[in-house]
Structures are given as structure tokens and as C-alpha cells.
């Protein structure tokens, strides 16, 4: 089912949660709504489900307007953040609920419901837990029950509100890969709300980055990570070094130091801010270009697949984070206390009017 969100605005009292939001989701896509808490992502999800009503704007599912349609008519599966499992029902009864409440004319037979529940529990690998109560399950298991329950009514659209938010890091990782595989099998148009950028980038086909009720950028994980449209997206997706500086004659002027900047085209005298990801910084033991930044290695963490360094430079008030491959690190033979010279392989400059330093 395709989704069209058309100029949707939602306010709670004086607070604007969604500000004229537009979004299109294609049939069969898995889209993540990503942003910090309070950015409006959950409200947008609840509006799509029919749990909230927009103050302005319209919602289309499969080309038909559903803005005023009741939730029961939308055929939407919703997975709640805290699962909202029925605590007095067994796992099997929870999954069967949506089928049991169908009007008698449409309700499958008891045996058919049983089969279906069995199949769904198989899908989420919980057949053995059918007779347990929610309180007897782990968080990850509960999450999968909630998903099976939502899928039982054969929704055309699956909405997941921070589905892995309450789980620990390891289970979260497993579950989101599993969700991705499940989606590849079922092809239900799915929208996932999350504040965890790693989760969004790993699980979704496309990522919608939201901030203060606005959509900042929509794109594939690769697009939003490599080509952030706004400073917010840059900072929200992964670690970043921020240099408050001014662009002048093709160079970033930051204090008295200069970083050469081939990526920046024209010059201007506006207040600007330069963003560089830690892995886009290159180090050399000696000055190879005139405008490299001189810095001292303060801290080295070589545990893990990549080596993380923290540099201190007169030119930057903040420590500079650098990420190197193991090979490059061995080549450079850097140790704590060494003086190194830094230049960016890639950077982004955003004009930030009114942001005085």
C-alpha cells in the first residue's frame, strides 16, 4: 500500500508537533522515521494509523483519502513501543485477538484461527511459547509477539513505534536484521519510528530524518549519510567534527589556521560552519601541504575494527576526532603525544546565518 502524506500539520496546544509535512512512501517499502524525541515522528506514525487526527492536511493510502477514515477501516498493523500486549491473555490468545474480534460472518473457524496463530508464531520463532503469558517472556520475545499479533489481521501497512527501543543493544541488533529479512519475505509496506540512527540506516530502504516537526531529508541510508542536506542531519547521523569558521578564498578560516578546501567552491564572507566526519580526516606525520592543521595526539583507542584518535589543536576549541583503518594506523606508527598534520578528504560547509562565534 502506498502512502501519501499531504501538508499535514498537528498541534498539541500551542506546540506544533508536525509542521506542514509532506511524504510519499512507495508500495512495499520499509521506511524509517528518524529523529530525536519530540521531533514528531511518533505523532506522524499515529496519524497514519488513525490513532490521531491531523489538524490540517490529508492522508492517502493507495491513492484513496483516509484522513477521516476510522482506524478499523484502514487495515493497518500497529506495533506499540511498549508492546501493549494484553497481559491477561496467553501469547496465542494475543495473536488470535484480531481474528477473534472479527464479525462472525468474516471470522475464520476456530481451527483455522489456531492454524494461523501457529503459522505466525512459527514466523516469529515462538511456537514453544504459545501458552505463556506476556510477563513470562523476555523483552525481545514480547516484541515478536506484538509483531505477530499485528500481522495476524493481514494488514496492508505495518507501523512500528520504536519497536526495539526498550531492548538491550545486542537483542536490538538481532531483531532489526530479522525484521529486515521478514520484510523482504512479506513485502508489507512498513514504517518504523526510531531515534537510533544505526537502526534506521541498517533496517530501512529509505530514511526520513525529522527535526522539530519538519522533515529535514528523505533518502536512502547511503544518501542521507554521505550527502546530508542540513547541518542537523549531518550531526544526527554519526560522529562529526564541527569547525566554526569562515570561508574565504577557497579556504576555511578558523582562527589563524587554514584548512585547504577543494570541496568548497565559491567564496563568501558569511558565517559558516564546516562539518567533517572522523573517517574523512587524513593524517600525515609531517607537513605535506601548506595548509594542514597541526595537532597533538591526546588519546588512542585501537580496540575494535577501526582506530579512534583524539587530537588537540590550537585552532579548534573542541578535540578533533579521527577514525583510521588498522592498516593506515600501523603505517603511520602514531603514538600518544606525537605531532601530526590533518586535512580533510571530504567536508561539508553549511551557511549558518546568525550563528555568531
Amino acid at each position: 500500500m502506498s502512502i501519501q502524506v499531504d501538508h499535514v500539520t498537528k498541534r498539541f496546544g500551542a506546540f506544533t508537533v508536525l509542521n506542514d509535512v509532506n511524504l510519499h512512501v512507495r508500495e512495499g517499502e520499509l521506511v524509517a522515521l528518524l529523529g530525536p524525541s519530540g521531533c514528531g515522528k511518533t505523532t506522524l506514525l499515529r496519524i497514519l494509523a488513525g490513532l490521531e487526527r491531523p489538524d490540517q492536511g490529508r492522508i492517502f493510502l493507495q491513492g484513496a483519502e483516509v484522513t477521516d477514515q476510522r482506524i478499523s477501516e484502514r487495515r493497518v498493523g500497529f506495533v506499540f513501543q511498549h508492546y501493549a500486549l494484553f497481559r491477561h491473555m496467553t501469547v496465542a490468545d494475543n495473536v488470535a485477538f484480531g481474528l477473534n474480534v472479527l464479525p462472525r460472518a468474516h471470522r475464520p473457524s476456530a481451527t483455522r484461527i489456531q492454524e494461523k496463530v501457529h503459522d505466525l508464531l512459527g514466523l516469529v520463532h515462538l511456537q514453544a511459547m504459545a501458552d505463556r503469558y506476556p510477563s513470562q517472556l523476555s523483552g525481545g520475545q514480547r516484541q515478536r509477539v506484538a509483531l505477530a499479533r499485528a500481522l495476524a489481521v493481514e494488514p496492508k501497512l505495518l507501523l512500528l513505534d520504536e519497536p526495539f527501543g526498550a531492548l538491550d543493544a545486542k537483542v536490538r541488533k538481532e531483531l532489526r536484521r530479522w525484521l529486515r529479512r521478514l520484510h523482504d519475505d512479506l513485502h508489507i509496506t512498513s514504517i518504523l519510528v526510531t531515534h537510533d540512527q544505526e537502526e534506521a540506516l541498517e533496517a530501512a530502504h529509505r530514511v526520513v530524518v525529522m527535526h522539530r516537526g519538519n522533515i529535514e531529508q528523505v533518502g536512502t541510508p547511503d544518501e542521507v549519510y554521505e550527502n546530508p542536506a542540513t547541518p542537523f542531519v549531518y550531526q544526527f547521523l554519526g560522529d562529526v567534527n564541527v569547525f566554526h569558521g569562515r570561508m574565504s578564498q577557497g579556504r576555511i578560516v578558523d582562527g589563524e589556521d587554514r584548512i585547504p578546501s577543494s570541496a568548497v567552491g565559491e567564496s563568501s564572507d558569511e558565517q559558516e560552519v564546516t562539518f567533517v566526519r572522523p573517517h574523512d580526516l587524513e593524517l600525515s606525520p609531517s607537513r605535506t601541504m601548506p595548509a594542514q592543521l597541526e595537532a597533538t595526539v591526546q588519546f588512542v583507542n585501537a580496540a575494535g575494527a577501526r582506530v579512534h584518535l583524539e587530537l588537540e589543536s590550537k585552532e579548534s576549541p573542541e578535540p578533533i576526532a579521527v577514525e583510521l583503518t588498522k592498516e593506515r594506523y600501523r603505517e603511520l606508527k602514531i603514538q600518544q603525544g606525537d605531532v601530526v598534520f590533518v586535512h580533510p578528504k571530504q567536508l561539508h560547509v553549511f551557511k549558518m546565518p546568525g550563528l555568531g562565534q
Partner: protein
């Protein structure tokens, strides 16, 4: 849409349930209660004032409010001890005692009245030991106090108990590691936490006692000017078909009850606000 008095929700039944709630409550409670004020308004202020300030009425206020207040404070002290013992210590029969604390609440007041009277009468189980000491309980104002203390007992225990239960042991441990002894910890750490709940409990016991009728009339002796409580005076006036008198005294009691109820609400608001800040 934004001006509506209710936030939208997907759950149904709001109109039905709220409508029924308001209809039923108005019919049973609000309209009859307002009748009391309507009836009083047919009196002039002077008539009203004369009725509610007769010596007999004033004596009944003194007894009703005085005994209720003293009883509430007695319960404040012993109720706190009982709550403390029930929460902090383990001893045989604890769960039975815990359940029995609500007895004054569950026991019909008439039953409480005749029982307390027979126990505290001069030949009763307890009265016979008090008589030689020159203490007469039944058929005196002291009997009123006994009855009002009895019916107020659950309130302090049941308001202090949950707060004591939720009290974080770590805070006490912290006080101990900082060098406080048990007594200092009690006064500096525990009492400030209990204070709002204790006051609420005392106020609730007081409010209950002020209106109490059944348990008091048997033990009080009901001598005008001496051991007659205000609710009984209202009853007497009703039996004499003195509706204006009964209504006026009823208004005095009702207004007092509402003031006390308002104070209880403020106390509860205060204590919950304190907990929010933590």
C-alpha cells in the same frame, strides 16, 4: 476542532460514559445536596444565625469538633506507630493485624456503637477497670472521644503505610554512611517524607469523625449541652419537624466538611508535588 473540550481519541464511549456519569451523579448527589442550600435560603440571615448560634448548638459544635480533633491526633500518633510496625517489622500475626486495621471502616457504625458502649460501660470489660480510677467513659463526652477515635483509626494507618513502604531504603543507608545515628536518620530523613501523608491521614480521620453518627449516639449519653453531637442535634430537630433548624445546622456541617475536604485535597496535591520533584 481545536476548541473542543475533549482531546480526540480512537477509543469509543466517551459521550455515553461521561453523559451517564454526570446524569447519575447530578440526580443522586448534586441536586439533592443543592436542595439543602435552597431550603436555607428561605431563611433570613438573622434567622439562620440565631438557629446556628444557640447555646445548645454551640455546645454541640465544641464537642463534635473538639472530640474529632483530639481523636484524629490520637490516631495520628498511634496510627503512625501501627503503620511503622506493619511495614518495618515481621512478627507473628502481622497479616491478620494488617487486615483488621480496616475493621472500623467495614463494621457498621451501629454495631461499633453498641459494642463500644457495652465494653466501656461501668460494668463492661474495660469500663470496670476504669471505674475505680474515677474514669467514666460511657455516657460522657469521653465516650464520644472513644467512638470517634475508633472510627478514625484506619485513615492514618492507610495513608502513612504506602508512603513508608515506598520509602527508599538507600536514602536511609546514605544517612547512616554519612554518620547519622538511627534517631537522627528518623527525624531528618524519614519524618519529612511522611509528614504530608500523616497530615492527610489526620485530616481524613477528622473529617470522618465530624459527621459520624451511628457509633457515637449509643455511647454518648446524648445530654443536651454536655454530650450531644451536632449530627444528633440535627436528628432531634428533624424528629420535632423543625426542618429549618435541621437544615441550618446541616449547612454549617456541610460547609465545614467541604473546607476540610478542600484542605485534604491541597495536602495531597502538596505531597504528590513533592514527590514529582524528586
Amino acid at each position: 476542532m481545536n476548541l473542543s473540550l475533549k482531546q480526540p481519541s480512537v477509543l469509543p464511549g466517551f459521550g455515553l460514559t461521561l453523559g451517564f456519569t454526570l446524569f447519575y451523579f447530578s440526580l443522586i448527589v448534586l441536586i439533592p445536596l443543592s436542595g439543602l442550600f435552597v431550603k436555607t435560603s428561605s431563611l433570613s440571615w438573622e434567622q439562620f444565625w440565631n438557629i446556628v448560634t444557640t447555646p445548645r448548638a454551640i455546645a454541640s459544635y465544641q464537642l463534635t469538633f473538639g472530640a474529632s480533633l483530639v481523636g484524629a491526633f490520637i490516631n495520628g500518633i498511634f496510627g503512625s506507630i501501627i503503620a511503622w510496625v506493619l511495614v518495618r517489622y515481621h512478627f507473628p500475626g502481622r497479616s491478620v493485624v494488617d487486615a483488621l486495621v480496616d475493621l472500623p471502616f467495614a463494621l457498621p457504625t451501629a454495631v461499633a456503637g453498641i459494642t463500644l458502649t457495652s465494653i466501656y460501660a461501668s460494668n463492661g470489660w474495660i469500663g470496670r477497670y476504669l471505674e475505680p480510677l474515677g474514669i467514666k467513659v460511657a455516657f460522657t463526652p469521653l465516650g464520644v472521644l472513644v467512638a470517634l477515635t475508633f472510627i478514625g483509626l484506619p485513615f492514618v494507618v492507610r495513608t502513612v503505610q504506602p508512603v513508608l513502604q515506598d520509602l527508599d531504603r538507600e536514602v536511609e543507608e546514605a544517612a547512616t554512611t554519612l554518620g547519622a545515628n538511627r534517631w537522627q536518620t528518623f527525624w531528618a530523613v524519614i519524618v519529612p517524607e511522611l509528614w504530608p501523608a500523616l497530615l492527610t491521614g489526620i485530616a481524613m480521620a477528622f473529617a470522618r469523625a465530624v459527621g459520624e453518627y451511628g457509633s457515637v449516639i449509643f455511647i454518648a449519653g446524648n445530654m443536651p449541652l454536655k454530650s450531644e453531637i451536632t449530627p444528633l442535634l440535627i436528628m432531634t430537630k428533624l424528629e420535632q419537624y423543625d426542618y429549618a433548624g435541621a437544615t441550618s445546622l446541616g449547612v454549617v456541617m456541610l460547609v465545614t466538611s467541604f473546607v476540610v475536604a478542600l484542605m485534604i485535597n491541597l495536602l495531597q496535591w502538596w505531597s504528590s508535588a513533592r514527590h514529582m520533584n524528586q
